[in-house]
Amino acid sequence: MADAPSPAAASMPPPASAWHTHATALTTRLVAGYVLVALITLSSGAAFLYHRLYESFEEEDTEFLDAHINTLRAEMAKVPTNIPAAKELIAKSHTYRTMDALFGQIRTIGGKVIVEAPGFNELVPDDSAFPPPIRKDEELTNAVRYRTSPSSPMLLLASAEVRREQTNVLLIYRVALDVSHIDDWMREFRNELIWVVLAGTTLSGILAWLITRRGLRPLHQITAAMKRVGASGLDERLGHNPWPRELADTAGEFDLMLERLREAFHRLTQFSADAAHELRTPLNGLMISTSLMLAQDRDSEEYRHALATNLEEYERLKRMVDSLLFIARADNAEAVLKRSNVNMATLGAEVLDFFSALAEERHVTLRVVGQGTAYGDVTLLRLALSNLVSNALRHTPSGGSVQVTIGESREFCRIDVSDTGTGIPAEHLPKLFDRFYRVDAARTVSQEDGGTGLGLALVKTVVHLHGGTITVISNVGSGTTMTLTFPSGGGSQRQEDKPAVENAGEAGRNLG
């Protein structure tokens, strides 16, 4: 047998670019996912931080204002006439937090201003911006943020009732706390946070990309390995590299596929070689006989005889090609069965009728017994049975018998073709159904029976197409029994298959 050429050489591998776009997409997808996760995590962290800070400042400022109001209240209560002190307290507006500037104003309920810090009015021109004053004994819990324009400082406004002990008159104290420096600081902080988030996300993205690339490296490696293995001609395997667990399955499947391919390829190569060899023999015969005829003048009867013999040889070649085609098509599952319920007893009788004259001539008895219905393609069933009977007849000496026994179970229809012939030595049985296998290697197909060495291979093909089985039992000297099983007829599943098995010849042509 010739060495199998590398199939990779025979067909171009798929373009590598296809794989690359896919891998890029995979990396991109993963990195994008990581980046999104980082972005969400960092942003929520930053947002939370910012808000907590903002709230605590707000709280602190409010408390500060509250303390301030209480101080003023105390001042007013303690020193009843001490308006100037209050004034000073208001006007000075210096605190232990030097950054904070306080601007206060004391007014009557009627709205008449008694004391106010300088610049108070420019800061808060709008009277209604102040919240309603808290009661004289209430604590300040929240202040109102206010600014006249985006460029002016941010203020916290509060107002409270203040009672003068002496006169028992209720006054209203309004105060504005300049918090713009905190605001500025917060803005800056916010911008920093945004930068941190962006930088962190970018860094995460870069890291994610590196990790992903590293993580996917085995994928590149396995592809490279596949390329190598594919190019080296089906004999190498991926399995002997330690792949990560997730890729081990892929490698295993790939190896299995290679194994199947190798087997199929081997079968195909073997088959081509066999077929070529088989065709050589008859062609050689034809060449010899034809050239012999031409070697010298002969009378017309000789020519006629030679040509007739050649024609028979051609017929045989044609049959062989037809059979080969049929088997090849069946192997490629191109054949579609026209299934129906076939009465095997009737079919058996028809087939035996075909051989009856031949059997009579050879003094071999033909018998069909039993009953059964098979669900299959009638043409193919007939083909299989006639091949078996033909074989049995060929190997059964005068006085023997060939019997077709049909039996039926619920699932299978069983057909035995038994003869009382010469039998087949045990060592041949496993290979009996191989193409071109002949029990007697020395025996080329005799002209007499015109066999192609494909008969049993055809039978096997037919059986497999139907999902049946074929077995053989043989005793040298006492005979051989071939057993076929086919799906039984009358079953529940009845799909109508489309036509048709393409076989040689034209069964089903009308007469005439």
């Binding site: 017929e315 049959r319 083909l383 029976d449 069964a507």
Partner: protein, 236 residues
């Protein structure tokens, strides 16, 4: 009767043309689709023998264009491809028959005659009805009653099995034509790929003993390597 052969393989073309001429037909040949189509359009033929795998225009296209141009001649396709869909396509395109290579001459000639007959039957009178369509076929003193499945010779009944009658009528319908063993195996017993042409020979032998042996005039003839024919050669 004029037959156009469109076939690119020179040997096949020459052999077919020669054989048809020897059988008394007038033959025109073309070795590619274009010239074949031209020939088909230029003059009326009685039959076109058309190969499918042709250089340039293939057989399908030739047939399609010829039919489109109103050529109603029967067409016999020759092809090395025997896939069913090919056959179906050929018949859909209006081919009348489909012959898979390789084929023997006898088979080819039989198909040609059948195709030509198909055309003429529409125009002939009942008296000229070909054997294929008759209910009773007579060959010399052999008489076959097809519907009754009875065979008589010199008025005497010949006792035949159903298959034997089928075999005899197959030969009788094609009186004078050589029918190959594989055709016999297929048509009578529905058996293909038969490695046992022997079985056919034996069956023919048995038929001969019943039909010919008791009589002087032999009607069943063996053609070595080709097959069998039923005809009255008047040698009795």
């Amino acid at each position: 009767m004029n037959i156009l052969i469109v076939e690119d393989d020179r040997r096949s073309r020459d052999s077919l043309a020669r054989g048809l001429r020897e059988s008394g037909y007038e033959v025109t040949t073309a070795d590619n689709g274009e010239t074949g189509l031209q020939a088909a359009l230029e003059r009326t033929h009685d039959l076109i023998v058309l190969d499918i795998m042709l250089p340039g225009l293939d057989g399908w296209q030739v047939l399609e264009r010829a039919r489109a141009a109103g050529v109603q001649v029967p067409v016999l396709f020759l092809t090395a491809r025997d896939a069913v869909q090919d056959r179906v396509r050929g018949l859909e395109l209006g081919a009348d028959d489909y012959l898979v290579k390789p084929f023997a001459w006898a088979e080819f000639l039989a198909r040609v005659r059948t195709a030509l007959r198909r055309v003429t039957t529409t125009a002939v009178t009942a008296a000229q009805t070909p054997a294929a369509l008759k209910e009773v076929i007579k060959v010399a003193n052999l008489e076959l009653d097809l519907p009754g499945m009875k065979a008589r010779r010199e008025g005497r009944m010949i006792d035949l099995t159903a298959k034997e009658f089928q075999l005899l009528s197959l030969l009788a319908r094609r009186t004078g034509e050589v029918v190959s063993r594989s055709t016999i195996a297929e048509m009578v017993w529905d058996i293909n790929f038969s490695a046992d042409s022997n079985a056919v020979d034996m069956a023919m032998g048995r038929l001969r003993r019943k039909v010919d042996e008791p009589f002087k005039n032999r009607l069943i003839h063996t053609h070595r390597g080709l097959g069998y024919s039923l005809e009255d050669r008047g040698d009795g």
